[in-house]
């Protein structure tokens, strides 16, 4: 009787080993396929690419016609990937790894809407151009759990997918990096900002600027206001910590005798009463010393709760509050009567990277807002742009080949003008610079609060241009 069950187990183990061996054997077969297929299509495609980029969304951009078209894909023999090269016909799949459940679900949801919108737009355009293929977004939920992210990555990889948008957190990117590099699968994260992941030559790209750019923007705004002491309330994750580090460094450089105090909060805390109390203590202390104090809030939508709690303290209403792209344009803040009122009272000002005034942005923003029922966050736009850049690069290469796409992705991104503005990638494959629009919460009519664009931080000159009136 015991022997029988051992038999079962052995059978399963044998199965696993068998599968693994099968993999060894199988790996060799798939390498060089479909070389001929691709060549035919390449030529037609390149033509379209040139027209497309201009045809994008409107007048704003005049894009150079010098696409790296020259790399006509005739040398496709060296396909190293394990999956069969699919060529560009039929349905070309792009994986999307997003947190649809868990802490960051609301970001995941907006990003999903953006991916689907991009799919729709890209396909309409491809159809108009008579392209022989369409793109298909295959969306998976990572639950913000790296273990699950690995499983979903594998599922997508097993479907032969070589290009994936996401995942959103740096922890997940770390967990997938080894897989991406060794299996040569391209990851484009819309939101991972950890400086640690700034690694040249890897298969990870990041379409959001790293903290090294936003930090100075935030610092500049505070310096412009004459702030001497910054008391920061910071979300204790890779994003918040990275951002406060760079903001602090930039601020202390601009204001040599300034002070930056940091209070961290665990986003998994049910509430932040304790942290707000500490914030109040510190602000009171420095105001008592006669310093000009500013509060820097580096958070996501927990800001609403922080405001609700801060609203109980009079001192906290007497200083200006500064934010980041995590809170910029959050509809939750202006829709909440208490938080909205508080934010307007403390002139809560937030930088967000975007060529926010472009028609293209407005158009996508409008449609996404309709779809979601709220204003989408920046990362959603990064997903939208990433989908386009991958498609364009794919067409330029003319083959479903991640190695080649990786090579030309930076140039493709450069000539593409996205909803997030110009996309310049640095040597590590991360967004190199961006201008920052400054948004402030304003009471437009009694009880009604809105986000108003009050200025622009120019990266090139490290200066702020205020829109008056």
């Amino acid at each position: 009787m015991a022997g029988q069950s051992t038999l079962y187990a052995m059978a399963v183990v044998a199965l696993i080993i068998g599968i693994a061996i099968g993999y060894f054997a199988g790996a060799g077969n798939v390498t060089t396929t479909t070389v001929t297929q691709t060549q035919v299509q390449t030529e037609t495609q390149i033509q379209t690419v040139t027209t497309t980029v201009v045809a994008g969304e409107g007048e704003v951009v005049t894009v150079t016609k010098t696409l790296p078209v020259t790399t006509t894909v005739t040398q496709t023999q060296t396909v190293q990937g394990q999956a069969p090269a699919a060529g560009l016909s039929g349905e070309v799949k792009i994986g999307v790894l997003l947190p649809l459940t868990g802490d960051l679900a609301s970001y995941g949801e907006a990003a999903r809407a953006a991916a689907l919108l991009a799919e729709q737009d890209i396909n309409a355009w491809l159809q108009a151009a008579g392209a022989p293929f369409t793109v298909k977004m295959v969306i998976e939920d990572t639950q913000t759990d790296p273990t699950v992210a690995q499983q979903k990555f594998d599922t997508l990889a097993a479907q032969g997918i070589k290009f994936m948008l996401g995942p959103m957190t740096s922890a997940e990117v770390s967990a997938l990096k080894e897989r991406a590099d060794t299996q040569q699968i391209l990851l484009i994260s819309p939101s991972s900002t950890a400086p640690q992941l700034a690694i040249p030559d890897d298969f990870v790209f990041r379409f959001c600027p790293t903290d090294l750019i936003q930090g100075p923007a935030i610092a500049k705004v505070m310096q412009a206001d004459g702030v001497e002491v910054v008391v920061a309330l910071v979300r204790a994750d890779d994003w918040g910590r990275g951002l406060i580090e760079s903001s602090k460094e930039a601020f202390l450089e601009m204001v040599p005798n300034g002070v930056v105090e940091v209070i961290e909060y665990d986003p998994k805390n049910p509430n932040f009463a304790q942290q707000v109390a500490q914030l109040n203590d510190l602000v009171t202390k420095y105001m008592g010393e006669g310093k000009k104090v500013g509060v820097l809030l580096i958070s996501f939508n927990e800001a609403v709760q922080v405001f609700q709690q801060a609203d109980q303290y009079d001192t906290l209403k007497q200083v200006r509050w500064y934010g980041s792209d995590g809170t910029a344009l959050l509809s939750e803040i202006v829709n909440d009567p208490v938080a909205g009122k508080f934010a307007a009272q403390v002139k809560f000002i937030n930088p967000i990277f975007a060529a926010a005034k472009s028609n293209k942005y407005e158009d996508v923003n409008k449609r996404l807002t309709e779809e979601l029922g709220r204003v989408p966050d920046t990362y959603a736009f990064a997903v939208y742009d990433a989908a386009w850049v991958v498609t364009l690069a794919l067409m330029a290469v003319g083959d479903y080949d991640s190695v080649k796409v990786k090579e030309i992705l930076p140039t493709t991104a450069r000539i593409f003008y996205g909803t997030t503005g110009e996309i310049v990638l640095n040597e590590a494959g991360d967004r190199a610079f961006a201008d920052y629009a400054l948004w402030e919460v304003v009471e437009t009519s009694p009880g009604q609060y809105e986000w108003v664009n009050v200025g622009m931080y120019k990266y090139a000159s490290n200066s702020i241009e205020w829109y008056t009136g």
Binding site: T101, G102, D103, A105, S106, E109, A236, E261, V262, I263, E264, Y265, D266, K268, N269, P270, N271, F272, A273, Q274, Q275, A277, Q278, N280, D281, L282, N301, E302, V304, Q305, Q308, Q309, Q312, Y313, S331, E332, N335, D336, P337, V338, A339, L372, G373, R374
Partner: protein, 335 residues
Amino acid sequence: MVLNVQLFLDTMAYASVLGLLSMSLTLTYIVSRVPNFAHATFAAIGSYMVLIVVWLLGIYKTGPSWGVYYASLPLSFIVVGAVALLQYLIVLRPLAKKGISIDGLMIATLGIDIILVGLLNISADFLEEIFQQSPDKDLRKLVTYPRSGYLSSYEPTIMGVTASSILGPLLLVVSTVGFYLFLTRTKFGTAMRAAIENPQLAETLGINVNLVYSISWFIAGGLAGIAGVIMVMTTKLNPTMGWLLIVSVFAGSIVGGLGSLFWGAVGGLLIGFLEQFGVYYTQIILGALTGETVSLGNYRQVFSLGAIVVMLLVAPQGLASLNWGKILSRLGLRR
């Protein structure tokens, strides 16, 4: 070191939520002998009732209103009570009858927990859909609420203090005292005590033990639902909001000893204060010692776990087992 009144008020709301949850968790534990991992998610269901009330009563248009509490307290009590009762009748009782071990039952409650969270997620999907499709512009603003809602904007204030800071402790006291009176002064309460203390004996005395247990589960669920109403005023509405609390709730029950409702409530309160006040004043003390700003908020759980460890190692039966008369007289507080 002065008392931070605002923090005290905020903590009162949070701590009484933990008190209510630890107390009701203790009740289910006394009845079924299984720590119910779904208990904090019960509270989350109660929290969703507040959103539904805000929506259906049109409170999203009018702003802060007592209607939030009038309507959602009874609604949560009944709905969550029913959920708890169903869990007992459909899952736990049949499994216990089949002789499944406590470990097995615990895993079953974990299973229920993820099912409930799944259902909450589906409900959130539907609510979002409804809000988004609505022609009412104000209602469309609620579209983010099912996944990250801050409903405290709709609660009224009493003399400038948010209602939950007063209502929370009040509800905790009322339900603790109410329970005490119910158990000691009513016939049904006596039957309940008998059924819980000695089921076999109670059975022979003609007490319907099953009915008593079912009612206990209903009440425990109902109390968790009420806790959820207060809870949503102090935190973000989210399908997994219960998961953030479950360790603290268990900590409260363990500190209370898992055997007495009163001490369960006390345990929950203590943990609530520890996580807010304990952290806050530790920071101040450490700050004064080191001369730097110390920020320990991330280690909230370390404080509640510390409480569990100390309690289990010093007095495994919890606060309830301590000889308070002796302790008080030693401290010189009582002769």
